[in-house]
Amino acid sequence: MAQEEKNVPLLKMSNIEKSFQSVKVLKNVKLELYEGKVLALMGENGAGKSTLMNILMGNYHMDAGEIELEGKPVLIQSPIMALRLGISMIYQELNPILDMTIAENIFLNRENTFVHTNFVKEKYVNQETDRLLQQFDVARKATDKMKELSVAECQMIEIIKAVSYHSKIIIMDEPTSSLSSDEEEKLFSTIRDLKAQGVGIIYISHRMEEIFNIADNVMVLRDGEFITSESIQNVTRASLIKNMVGRELSDMYPKTKCEIGETILEIKDFNRKDMFHNISFQVKKGEILGISGLVGAGRSEVIKAIFGLDPYDSGQIFLKGKEVKIRNTQDAIQSGIAMVSEDRKAYGLILCRSINENISLAHMNQFCKGIFLNQKQEKKECESIANRLNLKRRDMGQPTGDLSGGNQQKVVIAKWMLRQPDVLILDEPTRGIDVGAKTEIYSMMCNLASKGIAIIMISSELPEILGMSDRIIVMHEGRLTGELMRSEATQETVLYYALGGKNNE
């Protein structure tokens, strides 16, 4: 470490200040990145990580401060300048152009990289793309359309794209949020390759495991302030969390034991062509059932079918022993099933409408007086739930689009608490949410389970699955491959089934 300090850092940002409408979001922040090192940038949502990176990428202009590249001060005014200076970024929100091919996406606006004319040399572009795809083990052709790709594959393309710029600095904003552990491993080996080539990487993630796996240094931001920057050897999970939230978190997963009662929901022989086959499971009163598996294993498709969002070809659904027919979401909600989707912006929220309207959306009938809506009562009940969930807000009329990720997720959950469901399905409930809010959501899950709600949770984060579930079922390529009780589940066993291991082998 002492050695490093002597070297000229690859990137040095100092005294960075930034305000949005008189609200200071970055106060005197500094950052140092060295050649061939991975710097993990940590902090809760809203801590200022994205703002800092957007300044580096030229998306925002800083109010004060200096940026030095290899000792030379630079002024970065646009993303194009950043790219020219050798800085590229993998954004958290993917924006592929769906009707273009993989090659076109990767080399968008750089079509003349190979030949210096404005005529696109498709052959060269495709050859180079195929080479990159091979290097990253992506089983796709350069000419495949982006819209045929899964989210995880899109993410991989985004990574390949960033790498293909041959940048000196690569920023990765939650690159693994939609990757399976397999793909994650590929990413990590790429990162190691890049390190060997002397590339500096700024790595943003909420997943502790990854940080300890890949990072050399860890830097923590909190409320727009620089807290600490240390070598990874000197930090522990606990110290890191403490630095991030500013308080001790005794236990990430506050799972409490609660009474598990009779079976509430039972699924029998669920099938959908090319998606999932012979899925049967049940979930009991007060139980948290975790569904694990790799991305693309068909977990979301199964629960979407149960909730009436997606169709299914055959199978039966029993609620409290009685068979129910679910043709659409209205049927599901009426039967007492609620679902929080993995994609809260697409399926969870109406971003341009108020908190109040979003919460009451699914159960408006509850406030009906004749044909009219009793808005007073509505507001009172929604507000009391919002308070219970500790929803940070200006007022109940605030558009949900203004809220942070964690608070948005609370709104989605609040929607289903207005009338207590029998079954609550949570698909990746903590994706993209900061540590503090995560813990709140976990304790809320326990609280709901103790009230007798049967909870199904899909998660790609193994510690979360292991930490929160009473029972775990694992899917692989559309089939159930294993079922584990809390006591017998370990990372290894779950992974074994997720990779396709058979139950009776």
Partner: protein
Amino acid sequence: MSKNINISTIFRKFGLVIILVCMCILVGVLSPSFFTATNILNVFRQVSMNGILAIGMTFVLITGNIDISVGSLVAVSGVIVGKVLESISGTTNVFPAVLAAIIVCTCLSLISGSMVAFFKVPPMIATLSMMTIARGMALVISNGQPYILRSKMFAVIGKGSIGAFPLPALIFIVTLIIFWVVLNMTTFGRKVYAVGGNIKAATASGINCQRVILTVYGLMGALSGLSGIILASRIGSGSPAIAEGYEMDAIAACVIGGTSTLGGTGKLQGTLLGVLIIGLISNALSLLNINSYWQQIVKGLIIAFAVIIDTYTKAKRG
């Protein structure tokens, strides 16, 4: 600083009202006849047809759709009235004619609505086809000739007044109040906003989005029918060639009033202001005897100006 904020807040909230008041004062100063009771009532009478269309259009736009067939539906309505009145001439009961016009227009609109809701035809295309179909229907039914509407009873709808207040304007205001209540105080209104805001999330919250879209189109049709009835009664004829381009004025009124064409946001009080602003422009241009060649330019500029000011003041907030 705080004073600045206050002024901009006021402007953001009441920007359109301020524009409207300024326009009134300006026209009033330039033309002494503007602030006469007759003229004000005239303006109300003249805007009521577009106003009724704009009410329906606000709903359609909030759900994130659009309907460009309303002008043709207005023509169909007038022609149906003419046809029915002709076939039952002799009686003073105009109710069947009115009812038939509204029902036919509602049905036609429901067809556009089904195309959008069930067959996922882009709303612009669905209603474009309905625009042509309905215009053609009006021509076929009337054989291209306008019906002369001689019924005195029917004339009351467009020409009558209660006290001094014109009946069409009264119909417009009552309709506006009813639809305001529906949009703001009922679950249906909430669903309209939800469907336009994010149709996937609305579906996932158990809202039958197809039914909401269908209903909104149905209402648009009924209101087009009503508007056509008033127009036919006002001009005393049911013409198949009339009301071309009415959809544009209705959409313009909504957009001036702050309804987003992307769906999810919009208010009927804004639409009312938009309708009044558009009506006022025509009125002012004729009162001030502005050269016909210039009228179109002036009208376009005022609409663009109103929308820019409104969007600008709103954007400042974010």
